[in-house]
Amino acid sequence: MLQGMADNTGPGFGDAYPRKQGALITASDVDAWFEREILPLEAALMHFLQHNWRNKSDIADLRQDIYVRVYEAALKEIPQAAKPFLFTTARNLLISRMRREQVVPIEAVSDVEALETAIDEPGPDRAAIARDELRRLQTAVDKLPPRAREAFMLRQVDGLSGAEIAQRMGVAEVTVKFHLKEASRILANLLYGEPADVKRPQ
């Protein structure tokens, strides 16, 4: 079973990029860093974007552009501190977007100065994430549409292949893929894009 980027058939393995100091930094180093340091900050980043960009339909694009910039910078040199780096990148992108756009929402302009202070927005507490991880995963999975959840659980819990899931659910394999895609996209937004501790019981 092929899973993860760390296995030797995973994409990017061994891709080498020159580093400033002359040492080599591989794409798989950057991939691991990105997953470990940047993705857990997504909820805070989304919060930041939602408060500083009026047109909500741009936000997925903005997040994507910010990730691309962060990733490309990390290929040259992995930043020492991920969080300030991510938010500085986000702020710079928003400012350059506002300057470039022909139609700038008035609210957005007035918020430019607030960008500076918003960088200290507290992100999710990592200890809390670790403690509640399993409960959080279950809560997220429970929010999936029933068919998507079924296909996803058959894959992740029972370890079935696409053909086996198709047979079990009585659907074509393309339909299984449709459900798995939907599940993975919704879960990515729930697990990374939303705060960890929305409904934590006291």
Partner: protein, 325 residues
């Protein structure tokens, strides 16, 4: 196959995310991921860092949720416990008989002498490879009947929307009927969609002929970029840039793209995909114009955006989402 169209709309983060999710799902579904597939994946990843970060994010989600399996680990050690769980899942599957039927239909239609009905549920999609090498992609809530055994290759679009990529064979024309309308392929890629009062045919490549058996109107030959709207009596053809047409295929990646669309029409489009139904009420609200790329089935998000942009009120009534001024 629809490479050109994929590229045309690849600028949208949501579409890239969809493609990344596609790769991740395919990889995890396959029992033996071939070196060729891996090479294709790596080529796609190398094409743009945007592809790579989107893929990383989806992959991270898959890996992170592997922990769910650990939850069930103690149960799986005894075979009986495992089989009990399987049965439970099967019961769950049986509860969705409708989708099940669609799947069986798709598998067995080759062997049916008379045209077999193939359907997708609301929110579903299906890609079919026909015995003659042609491909048909069915969008949400769509039904077609395929009969390749006769003199001509005959497909009936019963309802909904389908994208056809026809393998041309001069000796056996490929004919798609929809009501009294008939599209005859002359080697093409085209999209057909049935609306309540009209039929839309968009031609992406090649040539096709559109005619109406029950009207005196002459048959028209469509060229790439042509959009034909046919009603019971009339046929109107306009020409659009291919890029605009390719946006009509965004559903293949789970997206809907609106360009200056009336809010009422946008809402109707969302409702085709199921989920919570949207409605628009109030003076002037229906005619507001909307732009952007949305997820099919993202009705809630869409309502939030309409609220945000137009200051519309969102009400929930009997499970419906009502937007009003």
């Amino acid at each position: 196959m629809s490479e050109g169209f994929e590229r045309a709309i690849s600028a949208d983060a949501m579409t890239i995310e969809d493609m990344a999710a596609d790769w991740s799902a395919m990889r995890r579904m396959s029992k033996s991921w071939s070196a060729e597939r891996q090479a294709e994946l790596e080529e796609w990843l190398a094409r743009s860092p945007a592809h790579r970060v989107a893929y990383l994010r989806i992959e991270a989600t898959w890996r992170r949720t592997e922990r769910l399996a650990a939850l069930r680990e103690p149960m799986r050690k005894t075979p009986s416990a495992a089989s009990v769980k399987r049965i439970a899942w099967r019961h769950l599957a049986a509860a969705f008989g409708l989708v099940l039927l669609a799947g069986i239909a798709a598998e067995s239609y080759f062997s049916q002498p008379r045209g077999q009905l193939i359907e997708t549920p609301r929110g579903g999609q299906e890609r079919l490879l026909l015995a003659d090498g042609s491909q048909v992609e069915l969008n949400t809530d769509t039904a077609i009947r395929v009969n390749l055994s006769g003199q001509a290759r005959a497909v009936e679009l019963v309802r909904g929307e389908a994208f056809f990529q026809v393998k041309h064979d001069a000796s056996r024309p490929f004919v798609v009927t929809a009501g009294s309308h008939k599209v005859t392929d002359l080697g093409t890629k085209f999209l057909m969609r049935m609306a309540p009062q009209s039929l839309h045919v968009m031609l992406m490549e090649g040539k096709a002929q559109l005619e109406n058996d029950s009207s005196r109107e002459k048959a028209v030959v469509l060229s790439p970029g042509d959009v034909a709207v046919a009603t019971a009596e009339t046929m109107r053809v306009t020409r659009k840039p291919i890029h605009d047409l390719s946006e009509s295929l965004a559903w293949q990646h789970g997206a809907i793209i609106f360009r200056n669309e009336r809010l009422a029409d946008a809402v109707a489009e969302f409702n085709r995909y199921g989920g919570r139904p949207l409605a628009v009420t109030g003076e002037g609200a229906a005619d507001l114009k909307i732009n952007g790329t949305f997820q099919t089935g993202g009705a809630e998000d869409f309502a939030g955006i309409a609220h945000e942009i137009f200051g519309l009120h969102i009400k929930r009534e009997n499970g419906n989402i009502v937007l009003s001024r």
